[in-house]
């Protein structure tokens, strides 16, 4: 590694530009031809062989001719967009399809403008606390995203019904196989069945499901136009927008705050590693869930229960 030839202390300062770097040490350098060109050639060769072998062994799918009248169930986007399709199940379509990816890409592009120090660049996870932040970020992203998906797909109900302690359940082993031991979710807690249940299983007052925004705030009549009649459905707004936004913005901030208070993340680089690792894990879970765990009707199923689309 680069433990050799430490640079003078003056150039290790924050924000030091390459112009103040020490003179390049020739003995630390190799000639591109043959040392690098050779590595590149081998890499290209390995990839060529790999892809030729793949092309011989696995055929690209070609299904029946496209028929707009015949919608397969489930219909899925290409795999790298299944994370967005998974988000779509849980929130307002505009949020999942356009706003979240756009804001995310802008934030991703802005990473170097938040994390402006240039210490330990060019080495794998070399800053202090890099590994703990990576592990914590990835674990939280992985577990948290799965928990949210499970909750919003009402699968915690299944867990409760099969595993509820205090019943006769555990007399028979394995308990989740014994149908007679199934307990039902208490009706008073129906609003905890999923995020959507907050809207459907609570008796919202009619004033709240149709707040007349158009007539009170948007006074188009003052411009001589007909009066607007936009109605604000508060419960739907809470379920489709407020909670998802709160989770997507709030949980990362909470994670960063906790990491800051506990001393896990002290520098901006720490916070970047923590949050971006959390995002990588979360993105992976969303992609995997969308690809392997969503069956007909986009219901959450075990991969072995997910069959190819039927049309």
């Amino acid at each position: 590694m680069v433990a050799d030839a430490p640079a003078p202390a003056s150039s290790r300062q924050r924000g030091a530009m390459p112009s103040v770097r020490p003179r390049r040490q020739r003995e630390e350098e190799l000639l591109v031809w043959p040392d690098l060109v050779f590595v590149e050639f081998i890499a290209a060769l390995i990839f060529t062989i790999t892809f030729v072998a793949l092309a011989i062994l696995i055929n690209a799918p070609l299904q029946d001719r496209a028929n707009p009248a015949n919608t397969p169930n489930p219909s899925k986007a290409p795999w790298y967009f299944l994370n967005l399709q998974e988000l779509l199940i849980h929130m307002h379509p505009a949020l999942a399809g356009v706003i979240v990816p756009t804001i995310f890409l802008v934030l991703l592009a802005a990473v170097p403008y938040f994390d402006t120090s240039n210490e330990e660049q060019g080495r794998w996870l070399a800053t202090p606390r890099a590994w703990p932040n990576l592990i914590v970020g990835m674990t939280v992203g992985f577990v948290g995203t799965w928990l949210l998906i499970i909750y919003d797909s009402s699968k915690h109900i299944v867990l409760y019904e099969r595993f509820s302690v205090g019943s006769e359940a555990f007399r028979v082993w394995p308990p989740f196989m014994a149908e007679e031991n199934v307990r039902t979710w208490p009706e008073t807690l129906n609003w905890l069945k999923s995020v959507r249940a907050l809207q459907t299983d609570i008796n919202w007052h009619n004033d709240l499901t149709g707040v007349p925004i158009g007539e009170t705030f948007i006074r188009t009549d003052l411009l001589g136009l007909p009066r607007g009649s936009i109605q604000w459905n508060v419960p739907a707004w809470i379920v489709e927008q407020a909670i998802p936004i709160g989770i997507m913005v709030g949980l990362p901030i909470l994670l960063s705050l906790v990491a800051w208070r506990t001393g896990l993340a002290r520098t901006r680089r720490d916070h970047m590693i923590l949050l971006i690792s959390g995002w990588f894990a979360s993105w992976l879970v969303l992609t995997v869930a969308g690809t392997y765990f969503r069956g007909a009707g986009l219901e959450l199923l075990w991969p072995w229960d997910v069959y190819p689309a039927e049309s």
Partner: protein, 251 residues
């Protein structure tokens, strides 16, 4: 390692080498002989239009495979492979709703190595999405986006988006059920934006549902529009690596 000595005792090889290299044709192409001295090795890189993307010397840590896993280079390599296989595929494919699917079937059954050509293109396309993402993770975890390389990271994010769009536009072209519904689901997502969504979706697929207009738009973007854009941003990306002092390393 670089060596200044030529293998001894192989007169016939030496004579063949002299015959091959010491003539006007070879020197008109390569200017120098086989790069077997440090000077010639640097000249070989500096005077070759393809190799001069590189500096003539690199820090020795950058040649270690585990430093980069060659991910950026492999993404570029896949882009080149996709260009070659894509050009060949264009010989057999007509982007019309009537013909597209039949062309795919003909490609797979009637064209010699047609199935393999298509397979290579498809797996390379998936591979490129993966290598580009892994490359981004590599750059992130090695802290290689830090000053002075901030802007190149931004260019990289643009290239990531272009890679996804290239793959997405290519997805429609086989005109089978998988293609049609994947693009329908994907473009519906764009159309769900309340402000400009419907307009964007209409412009993107040239109508209210995926049909001939969408096919020709996706085809044109896939074979010329997006590859050109990607080539331009790749040029900037590679140029900036050199301008910003090569690969990142500790100060």
């Amino acid at each position: 390692m670089a060596t200044t000595e030529r293998p001894q005792g192989q007169a016939i090889v030496d004579r063949a080498y002299e015959f091959l290299v010491n003539n006007r044709v070879w020197k008109s192409i390569f200017r120098i002989g086989y790069p077997n001295t440090p000077r010639n090795q640097m000249l070989a890189v500096a005077t070759n239009v393809f190799l001069h993307l590189h500096p003539t010397r690199v820090h020795r840590t950058h040649v270690k495979i585990t430093h980069t896993y060659c991910l950026g280079g492999l993404s570029f390599f896949l882009f080149l492979g996709l260009t070659v296989t894509g050009v060949l595929l264009m010989f057999y494919y007509v982007p019309s709703v009537e013909r597209a699917y039949a062309d795919m079937q003909a490609l797979q059954t009637d064209v010699r190595f047609g199935m393999m050509l298509r397979n290579t293109h498809r797996w390379m396309a998936h591979g490129m999405v993966i290598t580009v993402m892994l490359h981004m993770m590599r750059v992130f975890y090695t802290g290689a986006y830090k000053p002075p390389r901030e802007f190149n990271w931004v260019v990289g994010v643009i290239l990531l988006v272009l890679t996804l769009l290239l793959s997405f536009t290519g997805y429609l072209l086989p005109w089978d059920e998988l293609a049609f519904w994947a693009i329908t689901v994907g473009t519906n997502m764009i159309g769900s934006d309340p402000i400009l969504g419907e307009v964007n979706q209409f412009v993107m697929i040239g109508g209210f549902e995926v049909g001939q207009n969408a096919l020709i738009r996706f085809y044109t973007l896939h074979v010329i529009g997006l590859p050109l854009a990607a080539a331009i941003f790749m040029s900037v990306h590679f140029w900036r690596i050199r301008r910003d002092g090569g690969l990142a390393r500790p100060l």
